[in-house]
């Protein structure tokens, strides 16, 4: 009955007569059932969240997590504040793991391919089949990604006992970094970088805020280093690279080097720092050769610029990072060695970079073992292959020949939990559990371990089994004993050893405390040892590597800030619709090109071009970007899936199709930055699904900055003067009129749109520090997860109907790719400003938006009739409108947002789910405020400053957001809003009196005068 009954019809009926609804009839379908527990779970109170600790499984960083569950369902993940990696924050990818847990494209159970079709099979039969086929295979491969420590150990035990070989492959492997650590200091590790301890950073293309090693931890370290401290000091950051990534955009200076010349710049800096090489130990003669003058031509950087940079670096404590994936060229290991030498001569080893307490779970052997496996598979020498936690059919260049070789293996098993390009070729699928349903563990660094525990029972739609349990069962069927019945037993066995190492007398108590805290200290974490440079004994070549192909356009294939490599996480609408932090484009791929180059080629934004190399070609629209050198073209990874699920397939292109399958000789890593590319226009155009309005502030003080030197100068100045205030209150609210009201008078007494309560009542407010914000967009996804914000689909985004409650605006102030110099890119998270004198309020014909007594500009969904006047009158464009119902199981129309079962299990029960015809916007996480108020009222306690944390603040790695009661002069928000850098966006134009105060970015260079 209700299917045909729309909300407005229903309201009409109600309006006519209360009892009239009865004539609509009724059927048993409409009855809601209350299903009580049979046996009450001890840790669940209906309506109250239960939290579990675990460790994120999205990347190797291993962020400690708190998982919020309601009535046994996971509804949100957040960082564990006690954890040394996440420190309470989490990135977009971590948040989006919920959409993998509840992904409608997960396998419903084990499957066997018969006659080309996947048919259900029982676990028993499937495991028996694996046991038999492995016994007769005569050797097999087990391909894996990062699996967590205990599982990785079990895999290698299993393979060792069954004549198998484990090959770990990850397209973004840090093989050159490990090899360089070995060459430089004799330590085969990925070192631990401590950004917070540095005062000056130089990144040689390492994208540490988005995809390199540990973005959440490094994001926190970076913001603490680069944010203005109480003494008015501030750490500096220079980015050395051919293209500005998100990390690069956060730099104070940009040195746009010739592609592949990181090593030269690093050595020339080392030359200056070490007095011509005298203190460079065994690298003395090498460093002495590379003076700034000698490398100036090759790098395209003036000697004077390198010298200044080096002198600043020598001032210390400093830290050189990288090269990241941008440096994965033929000289990748040498470039990493050069950076290690630079850190060493500047005295940073043991101070800001630690080789004695590295990142443990990061190691991966790079591409070389995989290449050998491909050769063996192609030769028909491999009887079986097992694939776990990786998607090599997608994540290896097509030119590697993996697909063909893999296809020729007679028995292929995939442990993928949902379809991917590799599983699509498999004969048998044994779906693994999602990490939120699994046991496991990870080490963050020596001594620091985190348990992974299931936060909920397995999602019942999917008959999954942990791969560890499958391997143990298969081993038993093969007549082998691996020492444990279940993977849980295996894990507990290891943790009993940990307990002994940690000196705990009660292993069970140690285990339970580790589960509770989400972290265990097992032994000591060494720190502070310096390392001595070793003889450069292998044929290191520091000179720029060759690039294949004609022309002068170097092709840079870089990991997406949203997906990383995108091999396993692209089928998530939250990530697909998250605007890329650099380009602001959603859903599809794009080709980055300098505006001058585009002009020379007669191209503009949205022109579809063909990129071709000798290895393949792809087609994507142009996006012009001043933050890339004119001789470089960049393409993000993560697009172009063909068989990864309904949300990923067909979006964009797989950039790896353009790359050769070449190994960097020293480290065995895959080279990414190695070829030139040919650009041909197709003559066609397509609109970019971008949320970017303008790259320029057009001289409006939206995201102003203040020079470091000017800080404190105006602190003693007179009261701020401003011209006549105007407010949008004329002609029904649409026309600005002058007002004599003072800012603090708003909202005016007797206002029809609400008044603030008396002094007892809080006034909620927020400050956002633009000096700390890195634009990483973690808050955007956190908000989406918390507030049931729908995704709308590519077509709607293209029409400007994206629905994010937070829009991360990005403005270019100073971006020059032609020579080294100051860089100024501004980020501004724009949310509802909760204006004290809100232009949206007087124009609403039904009073659906008004002020609460505690200072929130609220949106009453059930009052809203969807006139959209408020949206039109909002100077900040932060109100978003549900043009369709995006929350039904089926899309209203193809391509529109929807929430298919069981994705709807993720919906936050504390927040109303909206349907079409409703306006919505940031609510200051009012449900969290109300929950704390309820609790305080019941317990008779008072809410303390910092107790209420909105989802965006909670998630922010940079600690840029502060929320609280601005009426309490001692609160952090009041302190920070009263600071020298505080300003409010467009306040003077329309006298909106926002509750959101921004703190100006601080730059090292002078700032243009038109800004306030």
């Amino acid at each position: 009955m209700t299917d045909g009954l729309k909300r407005r019809d229903f309201l009409k009926v109600l309006g006519a007569s209360g009892a009239g609804a009865g004539v609509l009839g009724c059927s048993t379908e409409n009855v809601e059932r209350l299903m009580p527990y049979v046996v009450p779970p001890e840790d669940i109170t209906p309506g109250v969240a239960t939290w579990y600790t675990t460790v994120c499984g999205e990347c190797e960083a291993g962020c400690g997590m708190w998982v919020r569950t309601r009535e046994g369902r996971v509804v949100k993940v957040e960082g564990n504040p006690e954890h040394p990696v996440s420190q309470g924050a989490l990135c977009s990818r971590g948040h989006s793991s919920l959409q993998a847990l509840y992904n409608p494209d997960r396998f419903t159970g084990p499957m066997l391919r018969e006659g080309g079709q996947l048919q259900p099979i029982s676990w028993d039969d499937a495991e028996q089949m694996v046991a038999e086929r492995l016994s007769s295979a005569g050797g097999y491969y087990l391909f894996t990604g990062f699996a967590g420590s205990s599982l990785a150990g079990l895999m290698s035990d299993f393979a060792g006992a069954t004549d198998g070989q484990v090959v770990r492959y990850d397209p973004l492997a840090e093989a050159p970094l490990r090899e360089a650590s070995r060459i430089a200091f004799g330590r085969d590790v990925v070192p631990w970088y401590d950004l917070e301890e540095a005062r000056f950073l130089v990144s040689f293309g390492a994208d540490f805020l988005e995809s390199w090693l540990s973005p959440v931890r490094d994001g926190r370290g970076f913001s603490r280093m680069s944010g203005v401290d109480e003494e008015g000091g501030k750490g500096g950051f220079t980015f050395v690279g051919s293209r500005l990534s998100l990390t690069g955009q956060n730099a104070d200076d940009w040195v746009p080097i010739q592609p592949g010349t990181e090593a030269l710049v690093a050595l020339a800096m080392a030359n200056v720092v070490s007095g011509g090489g005298t203190s460079a130990g065994p690298y003395r003669s090498i460093v002495a050769t590379y003076t700034p003058e000698n490398v100036a031509d090759a790098t395209g950087v003036e000697a004077e610029s390198i010298r200044e940079l080096a002198e600043r670096f020598a001032d210390g404590p400093s830290l050189a990072l990288g090269p990241g994936v941008a440096g994965l060229h033929r000289g990748a290991t040498a470039a990493n060695v050069a950076v290690a030498v630079l850190n060493s001569v500047a005295g940073n080893v043991g101070r800001t970079v630690h080789y004695d307490a590295p990142q443990l779970d990061a190691p991966s052997a790079g591409f070389a073992p995989m290449q050998q496996a491909i050769t063996a598979m192609g030769a028909g020498d491999v009887g079986a292959v097992l694939v776990h936690g990786s998607n090599p059919s997608y994540a290896l260049p097509a030119s590697s020949g993996f697909r063909e070789a893999f296809g020729s293996v007679p028995f292929k098993v995939s442990f993928a939990s949902s379809m991917d390009e590799t599983a699509a070729e498999a004969d048998l699928i044994l779906p693994d559990r999602h990490f939120l349903e699994s046991w496991g563990d990870m080490a963050s660094r020596p001594g620091q371990w985190t348990v992974r525990q299931p936060a909920m029972r397995p999602v019942p739609h999917f008959d999954s089994k942990q791969t560890g349990d499958v391997l143990l069962s298969v081993a038993t069927r093969m007549g082998l004993g691996l020492g444990s019945e279940t993977f849980y037993d295996h894990l507990r066995g290891r943790w009993a050893d940990f307990a002994a190492t940690a000196g705990a007398t009660d292993a069970d108590a140690f285990w339970h405390e580790s589960l509770r805290a989400g972290l265990a200290q097992v032994g000591t974490t060494p720190s502070g040892a310096t390392e001595t440079l070793r003889q450069p004994d292998r044929g290191l070549v520091f000179d720029p590597p060759a690039f294949d192909g004609p022309g002068d356009l170097h092709l840079m294939v870089y990991p997406s800030a949203r997906y990383g490599d995108g091999a396993l996480n692209a089928n998530r609408p939250w990530l697909q619709e998250l605007p890329d932090p650099v380009s602001k484009i959603t859903w599809h791929s794009w080709v980055e090109m300098h505006p001058n180059r585009a002009e020379a080629l007669g191209l503009r934004d949205g022109d579809v071009v063909v990129l071709s190399t000798e290895h393949g070609s792809v087609e994507a629209p142009v996006w012009t970007y001043p933050g890339i050198r004119e001789d470089v073209i960049a393409l993000p990874m993560g697009g172009g899936h063909t068989n990864a699920g309904r949300f990923a397939d067909g979006n964009g292109v797989n950039a790896l199709d353009l790359l050769p399958s070449e190994v960097e000789p020293l480290s065995g890593g895959l080279v990414h930055f190695v070829t030139k590319v040919d650009v041909t226009s197709t003559g066609r155009r397509r609109p970019l699904a971008s949320i970017s309005g303008s790259d320029s502030q057009s001289n409006r003080p939206i995201a102003p900055a203040v020079a470091l030197a000017g800080l404190g100068a105006e602190a003693e100045g007179a009261e701020e003067e401003h011209g006549p205030l105007r407010e949008l209150q004329g002609v029904g609210g649409f026309v600005p009129v002058e007002t004599e009201g003072r800012p603090e008078d708003f909202p005016l007494e007797g206002s029809r749109y609400g008044e603030y309560g008396d002094e007892e009542e809080p006034r909620w407010a927020m400050t956002i520090d633009l000096d700390k914000c890195t634009g990483c967009s973690a808050c955007v996804t956190a908000c989406q997860a918390e507030n049931n914000v729908p995704w709308v689909g590519e077509g709607q985004v293209t029409m400007g109907r994206d629905m994010g409650w937070i829009r991360l605006e990005r403005y270019y102030e100073a971006v020059d790719a032609s020579h080294a110099g100051p860089l100024d890119v501004r980020f501004l998270p724009m949310i509802c400003q909760h204006c004290g004198n809100a232009p949206c309020e007087p124009v609403c014909p039904v009073f659906a938006t008004y002020h609460t007594p505690d200072g929130i500009n609220t949106q009453v969904y059930n009052r809203c009739v969807g006139t959209r006047y408020c949206l039109n009158n909002c100077p900040y464009k932060v109100r978003v409108y549900n043009w369709y119902t995006f929350t039904d199981e089926e899309p209203v129309r193809e391509g529109l947002g929807h929430v298919p079962e069981p994705l709807n299990w993720q919906l936050n029960p504390d927040v109303t789910v909206r349907e079409n015809g409703i306006m919505e916007k940031c609510s200051f996480c009012i449900h969290r405020i109300r929950a704390h108020q309820d609790r305080a009222a019941v317990e008779g306690s008072t809410i303390t400053d910092g107790q209420i944390i909105p989802a965006c603040q909670q998630s922010c790695p940079a600690e840029a957001i502060v929320f609280g009661n601005i009426r309490d002069p001692g609160s952090r928000v009041a302190q920070s809003a009263g600071g020298e850098r505080a300003y409010r966006v467009l306040d003077e134009l329309v006298n909106t009196q926002p509750a959101v105060t921004y703190l100006k970015k601080v730059t090292f260079h002078e700032v243009e005068s038109e800004e306030h």
Binding site: L34, P36, S923, D934
Partner: protein, 180 residues
């Protein structure tokens, strides 16, 4: 705001509009609601008259989370069995109903109660806050100790009814206290 609440509200309204309701009360049967064709019957004829009336069991003994959660809580089958392990009923009709309960328990199945009280999805009603304010359960739920079959009393769970109480008690009637 989804269609589900509309459906639920229609059911709610129908309770009040239907003349069949009166018959249901009279006949002492487990009929919760009927629109003349489909009769909706609670899976077990649970008599609040005996539990809350005769035995005077405190509401929160079964609705265990009302004072600490937004949800009052529906008793787990195990809670029912805590007593009905022993108590088997005095007459045949009671014994038959209690046997249903024991069957649910033995089969480890949940009892699919028909939901009677539901505010719309865009309304947040925190039980804990109202319990703390010493609002008697009967204020909203009526004299359940006199009800053989639970039905909505006093109000159609409409906003005006909520607001009138808030006004009487001098507590907030700001929209965003309940709507967010």
């Amino acid at each position: 705001m989804t269609k589900r609440w509309i459906g639920a509200s229609v059911v709610t309204l129908t309770f009040l509009a239907s003349p069949a309701l009166a018959q249901a009360q009279d006949s002492d049967a487990a009929v919760a609601v009927t629109d003349g064709e489909a009769a909706l019957v609670q899976p077990i004829a649970f008599p609040h008259t005996i539990h809350a009336g005769v035995d005077q069991i405190d509401c929160q003994y079964c609705h265990f989370s009302a004072e600490r959660s937004v949800d009052a809580g529906i008793p787990p089958v195990g809670t029912c069995m805590g007593c009905h392990q022993i108590i088997g009923g005095t007459d045949e009709r009671q014994q038959a109903e209690i046997q249903k309960l024991r069957d649910y328990s033995a089969n480890q199945e949940s009892i699919p109660w028909i939901r009677i009280y539901k505010v719309a999805d865009h309304v947040h009603f925190p039980h804990l806050r109202h319990v703390a304010a010493e609002v008697d359960c009967a204020t909203c739920h009526g004299p359940v100790e006199e009800m053989m079959v639970i039905e909505e009393v006093n109000q159609p769970l409409a906003m005006g009814w909520c607001v009138s109480c808030h006004m009487e008690r001098g507590v907030s009637r700001d929209c965003a206290v309940c709507h967010y």
